[in-house]
């Protein structure tokens, strides 16, 4: 019997208070995610249970108990307080998936700071934009990544503390500080900050069509949503060995790679090593992983390598598989059922929603290729593209939307109240974020399109904007275009997503060159590597098309949608605003 039991039964009289029952919560307990995932688990008799099995490249392996997690998160919390950092300060965590990432994330929350995890493959420009927007006070990083911070430190007056947690201490520069929590004296006791349900906890940056990335602010009460969905959708149980493949630089890696499983006291595994099919299967075999939460891109990569490597490993420990990041195609679901004896269950949610919103559930019949049904307690709909009225007609495509008020919902876009308001259909002019997130007459509009079939299953159609979903990560075209025109050869640029079998979409750039530059293979490589280093490998165009001139409106705006429609073989729509040429 799964944790959720019957999905249909759970819909009846649902109340989010059941999350507290799942956690065994008692009135008066301290609501602080860092405390709940460590101290509380230990206090409930699981101090000696393995919390983290970590493997890195080259046979490195370490295991940590929940008591280790408690001590090392205390260590970070105390260190940060001793440096003068205060509750509410934004503290960035910028490192690979090393154990200190997990300890420091929990330590920041314990001392009341706002954890701002960033993907360690970001280049210096991506990093600068996000640190500046957040007004980040401190950054925790490693020797490998600190050089990116050195390049931008002068431009970030609010960034007062650069703390290196791993590597060679003797190579630090300037006012950088070294702190190796595992070598430091053990901190047995730390009084975790008494957060309220609305105290900010995690700040994740997400990309949009226009402008720079936006910081989606989450709060400590998000844990009710993350714990309950981890229990009912991921079906996590006390004896599970769980593997979430996501990087905590993205929301999946924190909501379900830290908060959900550890609030439930579940053992989880982390593999900090590049992707190869054989390595992943070996990791599952060696650690007897039972529940695996991954992404369609990875699943399609595994499919490409076929059944032979599957058969070469003992994967019989697996009992439940789930997927997130982009729509999971029917072929991948069918393939996983054939080769693993288990289907990957698709889940849909976003940085902004903080927790799963539409899912397939253990025990519920699966329709391969469908997103599943709304989580109990989530009122979902697809809205008419123009009127924003809920669509009643099965199969008609509209905008996926949710009634505000679920626990893990983002509370603001940092310093961008107007953009936050624009996400709510029917929002009154001038309404404040707190009024919007509690107004159940409104709809939060996700930016994705879907239809609902006669059985109530949701079917993903695509984005409603120009944001590129590559390998499950959203990349904003504006950020790429801004960086492209910094290349010495580029006069104008447009970035779109082009179809890709494995990653769903990859970035394609259209560029016009400055006088004196000619298209060539060398230039193509130069542009690709320029963006890879400046922004990230995800943002790197995988194809570059040279154009004499980019299509524009009469007002001079580049017509990205026109280029995208041509690339996807879609109707280019109304071209009446196209510049004459």
């Amino acid at each position: 019997m799964s944790n959720i039991g019957s999905y249909e039964e759970r819909l009846k009289d649902f109340d989010w208070g059941i999350a507290k029952e799942v956690l065994g919560w008692e009135d008066g307990e301290l609501l602080n995610i860092g405390h709940i995932c460590t101290d509380r688990v230990c206090a409930r008799g699981q101090a000696d249970k393995i919390a983290l099995i970590w493997e890195g490249f080259g046979d490195k392996k370490h295991t940590y108990t929940f008591d280790d997690l408690r001590i090392y998160s205390n260590g970070f919390a105390k260190f940060l307080c001793d440096r003068g950092l205060k509750p509410g300060d934004r503290i960035c965590i910028f490192m690979d998936k090393i154990p200190s990432l997990y300890f420091s994330f929990l330590g920041v929350l314990k001392m009341g700071g706002v954890a701002q995890p960033l993907f360690s493959a970001f280049g210096d420009e991506s990093l600068e934009v996000r640190l500046e927007s957040a007004g980040t006070a401190a950054i925790l990083t490693t020797r490998k990544h600190v050089k990116k911070i050195r390049k931008i430190l002068d431009k970030l007056p609010e960034l007062k503390h650069v703390i290196v947690v791993e590597g060679d201490e003797s190579k630090l520069k300037g006012e950088e500080v070294f702190f190796d929590v595992e070598a430091a004296p053990r901190v047995e006791e730390f009084d975790a900050y008494e957060a309220t349900p609305e105290t900010p906890s995690v700040l994740h940056y997400t990309s949009g069509t226009t402008g720079q990335p936006k910081g989606a602010q989450h709060v400590h009460s998000s844990i009710w949503g993350q714990a309950l969905t981890a229990s009912w959708v991921l079906d996590l149980r006390d004896d599970d060995i769980y593997w979430c493949t996501a990087d905590p630089g993205w929301v999946t890696g924190t909501s379900y790679g830290i908060i959900g499983p550890w609030s439930l006291g579940v053992t989880q595994c982390v593999l900090d090593s590049g992707f190869t099919c054989a390595r992943w299967y070996q990791f599952i075999q060696d650690n007897r992983i039972t529940v695996w939460y991954s992404a369609p891109t990875a699943i399609r990569s595994l499919m490409r390598d076929g059944v032979e490597p599957v058969n070469a490993h003992d994967l019989s420990s697996l009992r439940h598989l789930a997927s997130v990041g982009e729509p999971l195609n029917a072929e991948a679901v069918i393939w996983s059922e054939e080769v693993f004896g288990l289907p990957f269950l698709d889940t849909f949610w976003q940085t902004e929603t903080g927790a799963m919103m539409i899912s397939n559930y253990p025990g519920m019949p699966i329709k391969p290729g469908s997103m599943g049904k709304p989580f109990p307690g989530i009122e979902a709909a697809v809205l008419d593209l123009k009127t924003h009225d809920p669509i009643e007609e099965p199969g008609r495509v509209g905008l996926i939307a949710f009634r505000p008020g679920w626990p893990a919902m983002f509370r603001a876009y940092r310093n961008k109240p107007d953009i936050y308001r624009s996400k709510f259909a029917g929002a009154p002019e001038g309404a404040k974020p707190d009024e919007l997130r509690t107004n159940t007459d409104l709809w939060y509009v996700s930016g994705d399109r879907a239809s609902i079939d006669t059985d109530g299953y949701y079917w993903f159609v695509g984005r409603d904007d120009d944001v590129i979903n590559t390998g499950g990560h959203l990349v904003g075209p504006f950020e790429i275009e801004s960086a492209l025109v910094e290349h010495e050869a580029i006069a104008e640029a447009a970035a779109i997503g082009k179809p890709d079998k494995v990653n769903m979409e990859v970035v394609k750039a259209f560029v016009s060159l400055k006088p004196g530059f000619e298209p060539s293979g060398d230039l193509e490589l130069s542009i690709m590597n320029f963006i890879r280093k400046k922004l990230s490998p995800l943002a790197m165009p995988q194809e570059i098309e040279y154009m004499e001139k980019l299509p524009k409106t009469r007002s001079g705006k580049i017509l990205r949608r026109y280029l995208r429609a041509l690339e996807w073989g879609e109707d280019v729509g109304d071209l009446s605003t196209l510049e004459d040429d």
Binding site: G274, F275, R279
Partner: protein, 82 residues
């Protein structure tokens, strides 16, 4: 063969390894599985090989395993050169 290895190694060091990185890269250093080159960045490496050696590598050949060391990359390129 060794000359090609040298060219590929030089490109990888120039493009993927920072000056002050503590990593030594040789012909048999793991590139993908160690994280020196991530799977997205493999595309620029693939294009470099295609342009440099005037070959076309199918996506099915450009796997993380085939790109994991300079030696395996050069073997793949040589298959195409005959």
């Amino acid at each position: 063969m060794d000359e090609m290895k040298g060219v590929v190694l030089e490109y990888i060091v120039d493009e993927y390894v920072d000056e002050d990185d503590d990593v030594e890269v040789d012909f048999d250093t793991a590139l993908i599985s160690s994280g020196i080159v991530d799977s997205f960045s493999m595309v620029s490496l693939k294009i470099f090989l295609e342009k440099k050696y005037d070959i076309t590598l199918a996506d099915s050949e450009a796997t993380p395993e085939a790109f994991d060391t300079v030696t395996s990359i050069v073997e793949l390129v040589n298959k195409h050169l005959g």
